[in-house]
């Protein structure tokens, strides 16, 4: 870089001696931070238009050369595109290429020479097949990933919906049960109140009826609910009786006399209460 700058410096002097030198300063757009940097070099930026045009003439091909040699197309690009906006920029390039190609194809057609690859033509391609395989694999993998993500999301949603539906169903059922029980109890109450005198038979019948009704209304419920003919309240009352409780749990227990050292308990687990298979009872009963 330094060498070229030196050269440039040398030839700047030379160029400035020429009458043709012009310096450009008009085509500058400044950012605030760049302003300091650019204002100085811009003043001595060389722009030798005549020299450039001279060289252009030197190297360019003769004027009446067929377009088919050059194959160059000029496409109009009006709108200003920000270089940093990737999508817009690529779109601009794409449209430029598309327009150019269409123009070119029309020109080819008018000239009449073959320009499109025939169907069965096979020739060496710029990228070889193994590379294209990789590209294809990657594309497929990406597509699969996207699809799987979709499927998973759908499955999740379906599950949620299914759960909700089930919960709904259960709630409905519970409601129904409640309703039925309430109505059954009501019926029983009415019956009791109305038929107090001849209650046995009626009661039996009523209880039989009750029995049937309760049995019918909860076909799915098992033995958890009381299968006995007694009503719920009566059953509760009975449960709180002293006799019932005694029958179940014995006559009561001593308050704090669970653990005691007695003759019987002397040899209880000498080594500790934790029983392991490898423990040896060191002092066993002889």
């Amino acid at each position: 870089m330094a060498v070229h700058q030196k050269r440039a410096a040398v030839f700047v002097a030379e160029a400035e001696n020429n009458a043709d030198t012009e310096s450009s300063d008009s085509e500058l757009e400044f950012d605030e931070e760049d302003e300091i940097r650019l204002s100085e070099p811009s003043e001595n930026a060389i722009y030798n238009r005549d020299g450039l045009l001279d060289k252009l003439e030197d190297i360019s091909w003769p004027e009446n050369v067929d377009w088919i040699h050059k194959l160059s197309l000029d496409v109009n690009q009006e709108q200003e595109v920000d270089a940093n906006d990737d999508l817009a920029r690529e779109l601009v390039f794409y449209t430029q290429a598309l327009e150019g190609t269409k123009e070119a194809f029309l020109k080819f057609q008018s000239v009449g020479c073959p320009f499109l690859t025939p169907a069965g033509y096979s020739g060496a391609m710029v990228k070889n097949d193994t590379h294209l395989e990789k590209v294809k694999d990657q594309l497929l993998a990406e597509k699969n990933r996207v699809e799987e993500a979709e499927e998973r999301r759908k499955a999740r949603e379906n599950e949620k919906i299914a759960k909700e539906v089930e919960a709904q169903k259960l709630r409905e059922k519970a409601k129904q049960e409640k309703e039925e029980k309430r109505s059954a109890r009501q019926l029983q109450k009415e019956r009791q109140e109305s038929g107090l005198s001849g209650s046995e038979e009626d009661g039996d019948i009523g209880s039989a009826d009750e029995d049937k009704s309760t049995f019918e209304s909860d076909p799915s419920v098992g033995k958890a609910k009381d299968p006995t003919g007694k009503g719920k309240k009566e059953a509760d009352k009975m449960r709180k009786n002293r006799d019932y409780r005694n029958s179940k749990h014995g006559l009561g227990r001593k308050k704090g006399m669970k653990k005691q050292s007695k003759t019987e308990t002397t040899n209880d687990t000498i080594g500790g209460f934790k029983k392991s298979s490898f423990s040896k009872n060191k002092r066993r009963k002889a």
């Binding site: 870089m1 060498v3 070229h4 440039a8 030839f11 940097r37 650019l38 930026a45 060389i46 722009y47 030798n48 020299g51 450039l52 045009l53 060289k55 252009l56 030197d58 190297i59 091909w61 003769p62 009446n64 050369v65 067929d66 040699h69 050059k70 194959l71 160059s72 197309l73 000029d74 496409v75 109009n76 920000d82 270089a83 920029r89 430029q96 290429a97 598309l98 327009e99 150019g100 190609t101 269409k102 070119a104 194809f105 080819f108 057609q109 020479c113 073959p114 320009f115 499109l116 690859t117 033509y121 020739g123 060496a124 391609m125 710029v126 990228k127 294209l132 590209v135 990657q138 594309l139």
Partner: protein
């Protein structure tokens, strides 16, 4: 039809009967000193046609990055009229030796990739022997091997070159456009070229940079030489790659040297950019100290009012 003697370096071809347009007989390399030679044949009967005998030499400097090396190889595969040469030593990246190399390989232009500090890539486009040369800074490089660039085209088919009209706005753009057309366009009757056109190079100027894209043309067609309206509408382009962005730095009058014809005023070398960034970072502490003193001065000059509730919670 007289055949012209072998002294001339340019062999003239027998005019093809099909061609109607005829180019005036003119030696292509005007800088070899034949510009002023009086034109001999002026009758249209047997004027030989123009032949594009462009050959591009593609080389790089040593210590080039892998990415840039792949870019160079991609370009080698894209241009069938190129000759790839081995790396040149760093001492020889100036002027004279490169010119000699180009002459040795009998090429008419050169694309030289110069990589500095393993980070920055400069591209020289030069026309030999006395043509202008342009130095670019290359950014935004994507090679053909990237898996997102899925297109493919025939190896050796001639590219269509699509330029924006910006290129005709100013002298230096015109020169750049002409050089690009000559270097990137495959000669018509090259022995390695395929006669079909299935890809297009796009050069456009955005923000003072030249952006390069390469697309494969795919359109449904039946015959090899005609296409109907419907087919044209359904044409799609698939990107083949590579991609890069050129920032012109300077245009020189000679090949790899010579008088500077154009300097880009908006160009900042990457070294300067890096230096400026470092400077910004290094100034943090100084800025902090300055801010502190400023705050103190401000406080001193604008004293606060007495706070009524200051003594409220005092024991």
């Amino acid at each position: 039809m007289k055949k012209i003697g072998k002294k001339r370096k340019h062999a003239e071809t027998i005019p093809e009967p099909k061609k109607e347009l005829v180019a005036e007989e003119r030696p292509k390399r005007t800088l070899l000193g034949w510009k002023d030679k009086p034109v001999v044949n002026e009758n249209e009967a047997d004027v030989p046609t123009f032949r594009n005998k462009e050959k591009v030499l593609i080389t790089s400097s040593r210590r080039i990055n892998y990415r840039y090396r792949h870019l160079m190889l991609n370009l080698v595969s894209l241009l069938p009229h190129c000759k790839k040469d081995s790396k040149v030593e760093s001492k020889e990246t100036k002027g004279a030796t490169l010119n000699e190399l180009v002459e040795l390989r009998s090429c008419s232009s050169c694309l030289f990739f110069e990589c500095r500090k393993h980070k920055d890539l400069y591209l020289w486009m030069a026309k030999s022997p006395g043509g202008p040369s342009i130095k670019f800074l290359v950014n935004a490089v994507h090679t053909m091997e990237e898996l997102k660039l899925t297109g493919n085209h025939l190896n050796g088919s001639r590219p269509l070159l699509s330029f924006t009209t910006n290129f005709d706005k100013d002298a230096h753009w015109k020169l750049i456009k002409e050089m690009i057309t000559q270097i990137f366009g495959t000669p018509k009757d090259h022995r390695k070229q395929k006669p079909y056109y299935d890809h297009v190079f796009v050069f456009s100027i955005i923000d003072g940079h030249i952006w390069f894209r390469n697309y494969q043309i795919s359109c449904p067609h039946t015959g090899a030489d005609k296409i109907d309206r419907g087919g044209l509408e359904k044409m799609t382009l698939i990107e083949v790659g590579p991609r890069f962005c050129l920032n012109p730095i300077k245009i020189f009058g000679g090949s790899f040297g010579g008088p500077t014809l154009y300097e880009n005023p908006l160009y900042i070398s990457p070294n300067q950019i890096r230096a400026l960034e470092k400077k910004k970072k290094s100034g943090k502490f100084a800025k902090k100290v300055k801010a502190k003193t400023r705050r103190r001065m401000h406080e001193m000059s604008n004293p606060l009012e007495q706070d009524e509730f200051a003594d409220m919670w005092k024991e």
